[in-house]
């Protein structure tokens, strides 16, 4: 785990990230980390997107989580596919660790039946509230709670 100079933990978990969307023909390197949601029997991949305001779940996953039937705040977001109408829903997800501890987050995600372009962990609604670091030398994703968020 990463530590501060004074010995205090900076992060509490580490996982191996994929720098490509696994199996995709997309050539640009990105960071895909493992997350889990209660409705699914195994982990899924989500792209770290520090430029995104909201975290996004693919419609297929949102459907399995029964989030598409929610009554959350309706809003449009700007995406690479244009402006898309969806809803903001509060839900629970986990950032999975291979070593150390995982994190459970009760957070707001944007979902839409029209969105089939993958999962994203956005900055303002989620990443802004955790610590994270990447080590491209071995594709390690380090993460942990901020001091105020730690419980």
């Amino acid at each position: 785990m990463l530590r501060r100079p004074n010995g205090a933990n900076f992060t509490i978990g580490r996982s191996l990230y994929s720098d490509r969307s696994p199996g995709s023909e997309e050539p640009t390197a990105k960071v895909f980390v493992k997350i889990a949601v209660e409705a699914l029997p195994g982990p899924i991949m989500a792209q770290l997107d520090t430029g995104a305001a909201w975290s996004i779940l693919d419609a297929d996953i949102a459907r399995e989580m029964a989030l598409l039937d929610g009554k959350g705040e309706q809003t449009r977001i700007s995406t690479r596919l244009g402006r898309v109408l969806g809803r903001l829903e509060r839900t629970s997800l986990e950032i999975l660790a291979d070593d150390g501890e995982s994190l459970t987050l009760q957070a707001t995600v944007w979902v839409s039946p029209e969105w089939h372009a993958g999962n994203f962990l956005g900055y303002a609604g989620l990443l802004q509230h955790i610590r994270f670091a990447i080590d491209p030398s071995d594709n390690s994703f380090h993460f942990g709670p901020t001091q105020e968020a730690a419980q």
Partner: protein, 232 residues
């Protein structure tokens, strides 16, 4: 821009003819209009100067946040003697032509000992910030909202979606997925557009939808939780 939204609540607000409410006394607590403008400038301290704000007739929230929402902004501060949602439910379903032909009868509103404040400009302003992905500003506005509107259903919903995540440590680990990633690199193109379930280098199931994939997995004895992935 705002009229582009599909939110029926906002649409109703934007197309609703302005009511003719009674004037409040000067200095009355005012939620909408000038107060919102003040919040944008100095959100934390805006409520400390309610008296001065309440008497202001200069409205600039629409210039900053809602250039297309002038219908909402009155020339003077005002309060309503009915809850906002009740007014909407009663008046909006009627066609616009009917409303136009029917003069507003302010006396029909029963007197209330404690006037309700109009939360709609506040809600619309926060929604506009959300649509513009200015989440920090939206959170600051919600955090600075006076206590008497926090119980409103719409405000509570906005407050909920804007709340920071609750983060907890959990003693749970996944396995190393490097072999799954490798499998996807070498075999992914054979399953493009489909959902796959992998454990190590083994493909457990493949299906066109996640629901069908889950059905296939239900009857399997799984050594480890499979990585689920749609190959794009």
């Amino acid at each position: 821009m705002l009229t582009d939204t599909a939110d029926p609540f906002v649409q109703r607000i934007l197309h609703r003819p302005p009511p003719a409410p009674p004037k409040p006394p000067r200095g009355d607590l005012l939620l909408g209009h000038a107060l919102l403008g003040a919040m944008l400038v100095e959100a934390p301290s805006a409520f400390e100067r309610l008296g001065a704000i309440g008497s202001s007739e200069v409205l600039f929230v629409n210039d900053i946040l809602m250039p297309g929402a002038n219908l909402l902004v009155a020339e003077e501060p005002r309060t309503f003697t009915q809850p906002a949602m009740e007014m909407l439910a009663r008046e909006v379903p009627a066609p616009a032509s009917t409303l136009a032909a029917k003069p507003v009868d302010a006396r029909a509103r029963p007197e209330s000992p404690k006037p309700e404040h109009d939360i709609r400009p506040f809600v619309l302003a926060v929604r506009t910030l959300i649509e513009n992905e200015r989440l920090t500003a939206a959170r600051q506005m919600i955090d600075a909202a006076p206590a008497y509107i926090l119980s409103d259903l719409l405000v509570a919903r906005l407050r909920s979606v804007l709340a920071p995540p609750v983060v907890k440590r959990v003693q749970k680990r996944d396995i190393d997925r490097s072999r799954e990633y490798e499998w996807l690199r070498t075999h992914g193109n054979e399953h493009r557009g489909r959902w796959v379930a992998l454990v190590g280098p083994n493909l457990l199931a493949s299906a066109p939808t996640l629901g069908q994939l889950r059905q296939q997995l239900q009857d399997m004895a799984l050594p480890n939780a499979p990585l689920l992935h749609r190959v794009d």
